[in-house]
Each structure stands twice: as structure tokens, then as C-alpha cells.
Symmetry: C2
Subunit: 384 residues, 2 copies
């Protein structure tokens, strides 16, 4: 039984679409931004905080979770939902991205990736089958196939070899599935070479996957490359399956990709920047450590309805940032996630109303304007 996915509206002037994914842990309204919770926790936040920020679905990292707490623990407690106290949908990646990008001892061949644990130096094999086994134990609602991740600046021959292995691994992953309640997504590779992307999509969409991701587009590529490949997505991927652009990105990245018909996103940016004392606001990015904010007894973003903006001032957030107090990144994480989830919620409403394209254009122009004015303010503020 494939993952139930219905498209209820398509934008009038773009390929943006409004859909609903139905998982064992509830519905996901798309387009959706998925909150990254690498180690079965979103840094510093509880499930209640995540709900209050508007989160629908969390993303866990198989590579980290297989090392700690490990497969046995997930089997014992009955999966990640019970373990972390989150009763909504969860997506797990395959672990491939970390294997290919983190430093350390590793050997990769057709069988899979053999690597050393950063915790106890023990050796582990992450094969397509093993990844499915681990994700099955984790109990995620949406699983990803193990793929070969190359920097998108690699040469075309390496890209082709990686893509072909990705295809063989995808077929092995499908064969290794242990149930049909956990959906399985394939990952289209091929770097920034349009012909490879077409070939990869053609191969993978011929198999019974529940959804399709565009991989390898968050590192090493230019924005223009990414936009070109993403724009092809609508032609390459079936209309009745969800499309997921992995690891992307900034609000403008999300708007551009939604215009091209992408349904799902994830990115560490909102929480990552929160831990660097940076907030996304309706009038641009705000670096809370700047001396300018020390006396600003006003909300972080007057247009925001999040719990942080309802209760705390920029002056207080500046104080927490300067003191390196852990409440600071916590409050900024809630705000930044709320900012992202509100953008997606507004986008869904605009698609339903059929005017997403002009709405997105206005948003993109406003963000561009704020980025320029930020640079002016930044130059005139004392650097602290």
C-alpha cells in the first residue's frame, strides 16, 4: 500500500501545489518544512515547544541514532516516538549523508559503507539493508534509501558511478523493506548534470517508491545550479508522489523550490542560527549580540505570534546572548522554527487561494530588500 498522498490544489501561475500526506502518526500538510532533530531531540526543545512553533514532522538521523542509543534500545522502547515523546510523524534519513561527509575511517564499496563509531571506535557496516533495518527499528513514518553522496562539483564520471550505485542500492532497499506501514523514499542523484538527473529520475520512478527526493543539492552547488535542477523536478517526478528537496535551505530557497513544485524540505538553519544568536524576522535577519539591541525594549519581531515574541524583548535576548545563557538559543530556536513554519503555512494558504506565484514574488523581493538594508545597518552598528 503506497503512502497516501493527495494534491488538493495547484497554483494558477506556478507549479506550486498543496497536498496532504497521511502517515501512521497523523497527516502532514504540504508544502512542509521538517524540523531537524538529529539525535532524537531538537537542540534544547521539548515536543510541546515544537508543536507550539508549528512543527508537523521531525527528521531523525539514522547514522547518529544507530550509534546512540542504538537499534536494540529502539526495539525495547518501541521506536523513536515513545522514546522522545513526540507523537507526530517522523522521517529518518538513511545515514548516507553523514557517512560521506563526516571525517574518519571509512571504506565504501558495493556492499555498503564500513565505518568506525565516533563513540567507541567500534566498526559498523551501513549497507542499504542495514539502513532499512535500523530505520525499521527506529519506527519512522518515512524512511529514506541509502544513497551515494558526492559533492556536486565532482567530475561527471564519478557522478555517473555514484548515481548508478545509488540506483542499485535503492533497489536493494526496496527489497529489504520489512513492512508497508513505513513509507520509503528514493533519492534522485546526478549532481548538477541535467542528463544524469533525468536518467536517475527515470530509473527510480519506475520502481514502487512512496516518494522521491532530490539529493546532493545542499552542498557544493551554486544557487543557480540548484534552482535549475529543482525546476526540472516537476517534469522528472510523478505528480502523484511527494517531492522532497533534501537539506535546503533559506526562506528564499524554499520559496523558489515551492514555485517549482517541491513539497518537502528540511534544514538545520533555523536552529543552527539560533545557537549563533541570529534570528529570522519579518524585517530581515537579526544578530542579537549587536550592541544596538541592548536597549531595545521591543519584541524580536512585532509581526510574529510565537511564544518568544509574545513574552521577551530584544534587550532581554541580547542579555542572554551576551551572557551565553542557554535560555537564549532556546528562545531563538522556538522563534526561528515558528518563522519557518509560518512561512510554509502562509505558502499553503496562498497556493489554496491560487495566488502563490505573485505572493512568493513579493516575499522574495521583501527578503532581498531586507538583506540589503541589513548590510547598511550592519555597517553603521558598532561590531560587538
Amino acid at each position: 500500500m503506497p503512502l497516501p498522498f493527495t494534491v488538493s490544489a495547484v497554483d494558477r501561475e506556478s507549479r506550486a501545489r498543496r497536498g496532504t500526506l497521511t502517515t501512521p502518526h497523523g497527516r502532514i500538510e504540504t508544502p512542509v518544512f521538517m524540523t531537524v532533530g538529529t539525535r532524537a531531540t531538537v537542540t534544547g526543545l521539548t515536543p510541546d515547544d515544537l508543536r507550539a512553533a508549528g512543527a508537523q514532522v521531525l527528521l531523525g538521523n539514522t547514522y547518529h541514532l544507530m550509534l546512540r542509543p542504538g537499534v536494540e534500545l529502539f526495539r525495547r522502547v518501541g521506536g523513536i516516538h515513545a522514546f522522545m515523546g513526540w507523537d507526530g510523524p517522523v522521517l529518518t534519513d538513511s545515514g548516507g549523508y553523514q557517512i560521506f561527509s563526516l571525517p574518519g575511517d571509512r571504506t565504501i564499496n558495493e556492499r555498503g559503507a564500513r565505518f568506525r563509531s565516533y563513540i567507541d571506535q567500534s566498526f559498523h557496516l551501513l549497507s542499504p539493508e542495514k539502513s532499512i533495518e535500523v530505520q525499521t527499528a527506529i519506527g519512522s513514518d518515512l524512511m529514506m534509501v541509502l544513497d551515494v553522496c558526492l559533492d556536486s562539483t565532482s567530475d561527471e564520471k564519478s557522478m555517473r558511478a555514484a548515481m548508478e550505485r545509488t540506483h542499485r542500492w535503492a533497489v536493494r532497499s526496496l527489497a529489504a523493506r520489512q513492512n508497508d506501514t513505513q513509507a520509503l523514499f528514493a533519492i534522485v542523484q546526478g549532481g548538477v548534470v541535467p542528463d544524469l538527473r533525468r536518467e536517475s529520475a527515470a530509473f527510480l520512478t519506475a520502481h514502487a517508491f512512496d516518494g522521491f527526493a532530490l539529493g546532493g543539492l545542499a552542498v557544493g552547488d551554486t544557487r543557480a545550479d540548484r534552482e535549475q535542477i529543482t525546476a526540472m523536478a516537476t517534469d522528472l517526478l510523478p505528480a502523484d508522489r511527494p517531492r522532497y528537496l533534501m537539506g535546503v535551505g533559506t526562506p528564499p530557497d524554499l520559496l523558489q523550490a515551492m514555485l517549482a513544485g517541491v513539497d518537502m524540505f528540511d534544514c538545520i538553519l533555523p536552529t543552527h542560527l539560533a545557537w549563533q544568536s541570529t534570528a529570522f524576522t519579518s524585517t530581515g535577519r537579526v544578530k542579537l549580540t549587536r550592541a544596538y539591541h541592548a536597549t531595545q525594549d521591543v519584541p524580536l519581531d512585532a509581526a510574529c505570534a510565537c511564544p518568544t515574541c509574545a513574552r521577551f524583548s530584544r534587550a532581554y535576548l541580547h542579555h542572554l546572548a551576551k551572557c551565553a545563557e542557554p535560555l537564549g538559543p532556546r528562545l531563538l530556536s522556538v522563534h526561528n522554527l515558528h518563522h519557518y513554519h509560518s512561512l510554509m503555512s502562509d505558502a499553503r494558504a496562498a497556493i489554496e487561494a491560487g495566488h502563490f506565484a505573485p505572493w512568493a514574488k513579493t516575499k522574495l523581493e521583501a527578503i532581498d530588500r531586507h538583506e540589503h538594508s541589513d548590510r547598511r545597518i550592519g555597517a553603521s552598528e558598532s561590531p560587538t
Copy 2:
């Protein structure tokens, strides 16, 4: 107008008493444990978290707050309550403890303490008058006089000199008060020398302070010394004013001091230990990093009604601790504070019922038993 304080019940077999302090930001039911929020934040927790944990009153540190965010900011935003979003009572210490205990350049004479800011190396004078000025700007409900803090192992001559200066500074603090809505507490000094303590109490209680603290008993003294001096409190201090034992302590310390008639406490222990992955539970202290907890799919404390125990398992808290994830100390801080506040709430009920002494004795025996059994468990567990 002195701080309204009423004693509604006294225990049958001990000096424990049940009272109510009425402040501009609400009532404080005593005996009370005050939550330490050094820099206008309790590490990682929001005011809502603190309420959920049972907090009635927070403690801010004048030394830290005068350096950051500074007096001008408190004047601008209208005090600490608005600044940090906490609408309950706040007590501020005088800054003396930090001046005397933190390392760094400082000169102390009759006028006050001259010290260098650890933030920008600028010089500051903290005098009795300056401390009152800063605490007035902070807008705390309960202020403390600047006192001279010596290690209680100092010789008697130094102790006497420190005590006499503390008295002169107390009188200057009283004269420097700018309003009668912010209550002012004096601090009885005299180390572990009973005669000095008697002399100090006699001097200070002859003045119109709203309450009296026992200072200098959290560092350097033995438990026996502290208990002896604390036990004198009832004879030394007036029955109609609140008694505050500063910087103390563990749950047994609190029980012993309540038996002696102490009304108010503060200590960093519950949050400090939370950041070291240690929890107070009804069956003893629990070190969450121990391997033993990795597979314990049970609440941290089955007898606890806190938000952490309601939602999360020991296995998950172990996982967060091993990953050094910031959600770990946050969840443990909520639990540990709830543990302390519940102890105080139970103590208040026992005093009202007139059976505090036997109740406290049973509690003390149980804690002692758990500490012994903890050591046994500790020895048999693999150290991780």
C-alpha cells in the same frame, strides 16, 4: 511600613513554622526554597517552566546584574520583572558574596569594595549605598544589605572585624533606602562563634529591618557547626520577622533548618546538579550518565508529578546526557526544582498539621538510607 509577614502555624514538637510574606508581586508561602536566577535567568528555563516546577520567588545576583545588563537598562525597562518576564516576587542579594569570593582585582575598605568588571575591566565601587541603589533599580521585592563575607574558618579577630563592619554597612544600607515597598533584610554574621552570632543578632534586630538572614554558613563550615548556629536562630531572631538561611542547601540541610525555625532558603544545587546530569529523586540521587540507565524505560521518579517525569524515561534522559544535548539539563532542572519545591510544599502541609517533627525525622532517615544504598549501587555499576 514593614514587610507584611504572618505566622499561621507553629509545629507541635519543633520550632518549624508556617508563614506568609506579602510582597508587591504576590504572596510567598513559607518555609520557601527560592530558585537561583543569577543573571535574570534560571539556566535554560522560562518563567512558565519555573511556575510549573512550583517556584514562588526567584533570586537575582546584584553583582552580576550591575555589570550586565546594568542599572540604566533596569531603569529603562522598569525592573527585573518586566525584563525577564517573571511576574512573581524576586529577591536580590547585595553583591557582597561575589565580591568576596570571586577571584580578581579588588580593594575593600570601610567605604565599600572597589573591583574590576570581568566584562570590560572597568572599575566599579560596590558600597552599601550603591548596592541599595542598584537593587532599587532592579526593582526586587526583597533586598539584602551589603555584608562582609569571610570564610567561616577565619580567626575570631578577623570575624569580629568583619562583623562590626557588616553592622556599620547595615545601618548605612537602611539609611540609603529609597522607598518602603522594597523590603530590606539584614545579614547576621559572626562565623561559627556563638558569642559573635549573638552580638550580631542583638545589634541588627534593634534596627527596623524587614527580615534577617544568617550569612556565611554555606562555605567553609562543617554541617555540625552550621546546625548549631542555625539552631540558635530562634532565640536570636524576632518571631515576627522572616528568617533566611543563605546559600543552603541539600534536602537534609533544609529539613534540619526548618526544624530550627528557618523560613527561607536558596541554593544553586538543584540546577547545578542538573547540569551535571544528576537528579534528586524520592529514592536518592540518580546520576543519569551511568550505563545502568541506558535501558531503563521508566520515569526518572515514579513518585514525581513534574513535567519531566510525566513525559520522559530514564533511558531518554541518559541518551540526552551522553549526547551532551541541552534538553537534558533543562529537563533535569525542571525535575530537581520540582523536587525541592515539593519538599517545601509537603513541609508546609506537615507544619500546618502539627506533625512536622516526626515527618522530617522520617524524611531524614529515608534520605540517609538512600544515600547508603546509592553507594552500594554505585559500586556495582560500571562507571561511565
